[in-house]
Symmetry: C2
């Protein structure tokens, strides 16, 4: 039986209670009386299940979880008491019955679509609705031990996939062929199947296998590297291009285990690499080592970003760092959890101190137009005394 | 090189022009002066590319396509003239410059999140904003020859994946193992990697391999069958459960080629199947044959739905048809195109006549609690004189 398969942990009640209390603290600060959560990932975080459902969190007291579909599955997966509801229209009466009321109501306005919002406004006409998305993102950015356990399992899949890549990669195969092999391995190790990103139009395939200048192709997404993909309809990831000798082959893989994603990048080479590319990879490693040595809870993300920029500049690699030309991104790392684009963002402007329990992917990458990209992406857990790595990484470029 | 890989067609200019004209006709009918499109799939449909971008369609004249990121890629993929824009904030001035104005503006309010909508309202204060989602869904429901060509390529992947399933399926393997093999095959044949659904919280893994009573597990989604999945965080699809003898093994696979999805289901059996399950499968086939014989452009979807219900009732299978207990769905088919949940829906209430060029998946399925599910799902193109099948199907349950 595949490792991890079916052995996932359900979210414990204590975990859910703590999360709800955190939300209530933030609601208190913002003067929100009642929160209504609808987004699938937020529901999973605060209930342990994803149903067609409505989670109401009052500023004080217990959360009330109304489930439209599927009630049985909600009961099976969530430690909260689930209350069956026929449809959204039945909610106003139920709120009265359960004593849930509020003048200022928090909703996830970054993701809830206008039509659904309007329907809710009509049902609860007197509500003043505020966004509670920032508060939720902030709470979710600090991972519990339970969550870190899932992240480490997710990281194990990453480690195994990169080991397999080393064995399977051959000159003359297409990016897509290797993609198919590695996707399959990840899945058989218990990959949950999808890797989520928050927001309308945000989506991510599980793996990018990008040979040579495929890795210099960018896209609509706020990422330094995208690849061509198989079609302009999904303009990211592996393509039919052939893997060659003496070029960087960049593999960016996103695992997902029990909801939790990890996201790392390795560079493989069949043969040799031109000196300037190999040197750039070593600069990426320098940046990694520098950041590993000086990052801990309390450090400001923008300082990490600046440090990376500084090292790149000193090596004359500014034009290639985190994109090229007009396509540079303004970050060098991003939070990980139930979604790929969580907080903290290790970006130019982020002055909110890192906190113990945050998890982020750090990805110094250099892009050379016409040639390819080199770099490293590793996932870290922030601790009071430093960074803990999620996966194994030999700190060497992988030559075949 | 994998078939299909890199050989996709870009959307032709004439195709885009026709689609825009269709939208303008609908805008005329609804009294909308200007449409602003933002959703990735609608952008692909009306521009041929997916960028961080803003497509403005005036009621008359040409569409104007403002691209924020990635401009180069937009130019490469879209036959429209692309105009570079720094950010959303720069649009009001550009609209003046390009003479784009409107009092009544259409937007995709079923998918655009509230925060983005509010930002747009602030920028274009005087706009009255209406939903244009229904009009877009209606246009997109009629497929052109170009689109049907992509759908047929997508169907070829489906056919090959089911052929492979027949070869690979063995007693004692896990659902996930077979999932991994078939996902890999599909990808290597040019599967685009993701299968899209429209709407907040809508998501779909590429394949469900469901052995025995796994196929009786439902979920939050409006589908008759979901499976356990690997985690409550992605509560659909294959699990670690073991494939056994003498049980229905239901495989539901969604291919995606050059944007276009196909979605079919087959049932495999290792050994023998209990009589009542085999009989139910034959009833599904009866429904399929009945519908194939009497469906063409002009037929009302609800009549097809009723016909299916009627045949199930006559055979005493109403309690099992399209779900069981309270978990029945109110449809027996759904439109396919760039998304899995397109129009037409073959549902209880749908009285809009089928039109030539519509494409839908038809999926009579019977669910037996504690035992499993049997059924068939096939994709069809609606023609003036009947239905055209997208894939090959031998009309036999597959015994191994």
């Amino acid at each position: 039986m595949p490792r991890g398969a079916g052995t996932f942990e359900l979210t414990p009640l204590e975990e859910i209670k703590r999360r709800v209390r955190e939300l209530q603290n933030r609601m208190e600060e913002k003067g929100i009386d009642l929160a209504l959560l609808l987004q699938n990932v937020d529901l999973f975080y605060f209930t342990g299940t994803i149903q067609k459902s409505y989670l109401f969190v009052p500023r004080e007291g217990e959360a009330t979880y109304f489930v439209e579909k599927n009630y049985e599955r909600a009961v099976m997966e969530s430690p909260l008491r689930c209350i069956k509801v026929a449809s959204l229209d039945a909610l106003p009466n139920l709120l009265c019955e359960y004593g849930l009321k509020g003048k200022r109501v928090g909703m996830e306005l970054d993701v809830v679509p206008v039509s659904l919002y309007k329907k809710i406004r009509n049902l609860f006409g007197e509500w003043e609705v505020l966004s509670i998305s920032t508060e939720i993102k902030r709470i979710r950015s600090i991972k519990s031990d339970f969550e870190i356990r899932q992240i480490k399992r997710s990281g194990e899949i990453v480690t195994e996939v990169f080991s397999k890549a080393k064995v399977c990669l051959r000159e003359g195969m297409s990016e897509l062929e290797l993609d198919a092999i590695l996707t399959s391995l990840g899945r058989s190790l218990g990959h949950q199947g999808l890797v989520r990103m928050r927001g309308c139009n945000q989506e991510m395939v599980n793996i990018y296998v990008l040979a040579g200048d495929s890795a210099t192709m960018t896209s609509c997404w706020d990422t330094p590297i995208s690849g061509y993909g198989m079609t302009p309809a999904i303009a990211q990831g592996s393509s039919a291009r052939i893997v060659g000798r003496d070029q960087p082959i960049l593999i960016d893989y996103g695992a997902g285990y029990n909801g939790y994603v990890t996201d790392e990048t390795r560079v493989f080479v069949i043969g040799r690499l031109k000196d300037h590319l190999e040197r750039a990879w070593r600069v990426a490693l320098d940046i990694i080592e520098e950041v590993e040595s000086c990052t801990r809870a309390g450090v400001l993300p923008f300082a990490i970003y600046e440090r990376g920029q500084e090292i790149a500049r000193k090596e004359g690699l500014t034009p290639n760092f985190m994109g090229h030309g007009e396509e540079k991104v303004a970050f060098v790392g991003h939070g990980l959890g139930l979604e790929l684009n969580e907080w903290p963002i290790i970006s130019k402007g982020n002055r909110e101190p890192l906190q113990s329990g945050m998890v982020f992917a750090f990805e110094p990458k250099f892009i050379f137009p016409g040639e390819g990209a080199v770099g490293i992406e590793l996932d870290y857990i922030v601790r009071d005394d430093g960074l803990e790595r999620v996966t194994q990484f030999p700190k060497e470029m992988i030559f075949l």
